[in-house]
Symmetry: C2
Subunit: 476 residues, 2 copies
């Protein structure tokens, strides 16, 4: 039965996209909905999102950010106040034009992002340097009209947090942007066990209306990139459009300096695509809704009583533990919880009980070991820790082994053609070269990494002098 | 300065509605937005909502409910599948008709409520009695096109949780509805210190499409009612419209039985209107974002050091404590934190320090007492507990003293005319009488309380035989 079940997930190497969708649906992370482009986030997926939310919210609250919430609809006239923003988002906006039986005088956008609402509010409440900084964040869903849909990765509605801050100086807004990028790195690397490349977006890839956009880029198991979180420094661009001014200490009028930054449910797609295998999900223990699944084998009353006891003890030790004592076959259960990515399976049967031990099976390596029941409260946390580290380590090795360097465009194409992955190569800074590379290889500029290497003196495409190393890749 | 400040809030007896709005705005719970009918929920208001959310979510998770999330847009054809529901909501729906540059083939409703999405999903996944019950909940915002707006009480967009469950039998869905009503009562009474009248809505007041609606009705300080939470039993009405069927243990096809239930940000309006006074908010300690505000008076370094120590000790005792050592005047600070409803103010100055004591001032009674610093870790929790109880007690006394009985319609009108409040009176069950009472007195039927009293044998309006006692009141 276990075998049949596993067959229901397409093999990763046969069709990565289909493997992904099979896994999302079979693990009950999400489902399709009757609404074009929108998904249902099922409890298992939603619990993971709540967990990510909690881990990031704690970090930003520790640095004085506050959660609040703006309306979901935005009048068109307000959206048009910042030209780059509206130009960037106009093709993707869903418009409310009727309220009840009334035809609206002005269209209302279902928010694609909320810079204009925060800016409008900041213009109203910021008067003096004493009012600054204001550091607000909201956890909401946003809407961007997409033609194609893939659960988590690309949906017309998705969930995210959007932080919006206003500061006195350009130096402060710049520092905020980078501090948040560090917080994102903590969540993505330490919590989700996904290694990242940190860097800055090029002019053509930055957020509409931003002065600078910083990003975390991650590599999926198929070698493609996923933009995992972005942080934007607007300087005073929005402040000028919205007239956000304050009196500084010398009594002079100054414009505010703003940032915005977002982490979305797309990262759950990343979580699946970085760690998963042909048996389904592999969840890092820190984010796994269930860390240990207890499965009694051929249980008698004594075994069940001991299993209950173990469950209570692990729960008391702060471990998220669940037990399946349904009458389904062990093989079915093994497959089910492997598919759902539960990090540790704990098996206990009559013989184990006689030996005062249980079997712990790791989802990441498949390894099985016998552990004395008396040692579980220390052994299980240690094992979870080891799994968390190993998943990060495996992903980091994959990133390293699939990141190539190129100094000529032929080499660039050869590297990308033979192996999917990231290519590091020099760039002159000309948008024309960036576009040409993407057109010829499908690999776009993902970022200018903070950790630069001087690979050559020449642009990979035009050969002119170049002093920036860019990471290039096909992306989701 | 304190005096001027207090003046900014209209006196409650002069104009209750204006007092309410002043309080919401001055306490920075919410603000108006540039979007018609929608408010900005500011951090202070949002933190209260998060706290309510947390307290209810814990209760429903303990009984096996799971959080998930459905799309925010609903195709018109799906919304029309249950006729009573669409008839009930059609005049209030905001419609998306354009996506990007494309004119949509079918209008999409911004969800006013999500019964149809859950029902559509249940039809897809429910096949056997083994699949039941399914007990899902989502925390989202919904949209109902309103002409007039008052922060929290009536806004086009508001936040809520909507629970949607499906069960095998009508008895189970009925029991679920009542269990949830009990959970709501715990949150509203025990957490928000708001006493409630529990009962059933009449046919004309029940939710569109429901078989039965149960409600918690609370009395505001002005004597008007606020519907605090509702729980609906649909029986198999939606199951028949959406074809939600399962095979029972005998292999026979049965329809599922559903419920839905909601608690919204309106309750924050109730929290303000039940407890507040002319100085502003009064927050019950359990829901107050800050429970104790420390205000150093004419502080020297020793006082500040001790204040820091006290703050750390209270925090370690699990109390939400904040300190204001800004250079603003103590009088301003007193008014500010009173206005924000902080339950306890802790004052410490050089003389207090010399006596190894502090002053604790209660927001609910204004009472001030000196307490030894050594006793704070036990005295403060006890005081918070006493304040929580006192606020409930005061509200319960207000409810009792403003609830009247009437056996004739003249008496009914006289009671309501002289004193705002609730009137208990018998009703024959005829909708015509219910409507006539409302038309002539503005007092609608709030509910048929579970705790019935037999006040007379005759309907308060038509004089025909009556066996139901109804609570009547003007409502928000």
């Amino acid at each position: 039965m276990a075998k049949d079940f596993v067959k229901e997930i397409t093999a990763r190497d046969d069709d990565f996209a289909k493997w992904y969708t099979d896994t999302v649906l079979k693990a009950k992370m999400a489902d399709y909905s009757p609404v074009r482009g929108a998904m249902i986030i099922l409890p298992y997926g939603y619990e993971i999102w709540e967990s990510i939310k909690h881990s990031f919210d704690k970090l930003i609250k520790a640095t004085g950010h506050e959660d609040m919430v703006m309306p979901m609809l935005i009048p068109e006239s307000l959206l048009q106040k910042e030209q780059e923003l509206i130009n960037g988002f106009a093709p993707e906006v869903a418009w409310v034009t009727q309220g009840g039986t009334e035809q609206l005088q002005e269209r209302l956008a279902v928010r694609p992002t909320s810079e204009v609402l925060f800016s409008d509010y900041y213009a109203k409440v910021v008067h003096s340097y004493r009012d600054l900084p204001l550091k607000y964040n909201q956890w909401v869903s946003v809407m961007r009209w997409e033609k194609t849909t893939r659960p988590f990765l690309r949906t017309s509605e998705f969930f995210w947090q959007e932080g919006h801050t206003v500061h006195a100086t350009a130096a402060e807004s710049h520092a905020e942007t980078l501090q948040i990028l560090d917080d994102y790195e903590k969540v993505v690397s330490e919590y989700l066990a996904i290694p990242v490349v940190k860097g800055q977006k090029t002019e053509s890839e930055k957020f509409a209306g931003a002065k600078e956009t910083f990003t975390l880029e991650s590599m999926m198991a198929d070698g493609r990139a996923l933009q995992s979180a972005t942080s934007h420094d607007f300087g005073d661009k929005f402040a000028k459009a919205f007239d956000i001014k304050y009196l500084d200490k010398n009594g002079e009028q100054q414009y505010g300096n703003q940032t915005s930054w977002g982490l979305s449910t797309r990262i759950i797609g990343g979580l699946i695509m970085v760690h998963g295998d042909d048996r389904g999900l592999k969840l890092p223990p820190k984010v796994a809704p269930t860390q240990v699944e207890i499965i009694p084998i051929a249980p008698n009353d004594d075994v069940l009583a001991k299993a209950d006891e173990i469950q209570a003890a692990l729960k008391a030790a702060g471990i998220r533990v669940d037990m399946d004592h349904s009458d389904k076959k062990p093989g079915w259960k093994f497959s089910e919880y492997e598919m759902r990515g539960v990090p540790v399976r704990l098996e206990i049967g009559p013989r184990d009980l006689a030996n005062a031990q249980v079997v712990l099976a790791r989802r990441d390596t498949g390894e099985k070991t016998s552990v004395a029941i008396a040692d579980l409260a220390t052994e299980v946390p240690a094992l979870l820790d080891a799994i968390q580290k190993n998943l990060y380590q495996q992903a980091a090795e994959h990133l390293a082994s699939h990141t190539y360097t190129a100094t000529t465009f032929d080499e660039f194409k050869e590297k990308l053609g033979n192996h999917n992955g990231f290519v590091k190569a020099m760039w002159c800074g000309d948008e024309a070269c960036e576009k040409a590379v993407k057109k010829e290889t499908k690999a776009g500029s993902r970022c200018i990494p903070f950790e630069q290497e001087h690979l050559s003196d020449h642009c990979i495409y035009c050969g002119k002098p170049a002093d920036k190393m860019v990471v290039w890749a096909q992306a989701y």
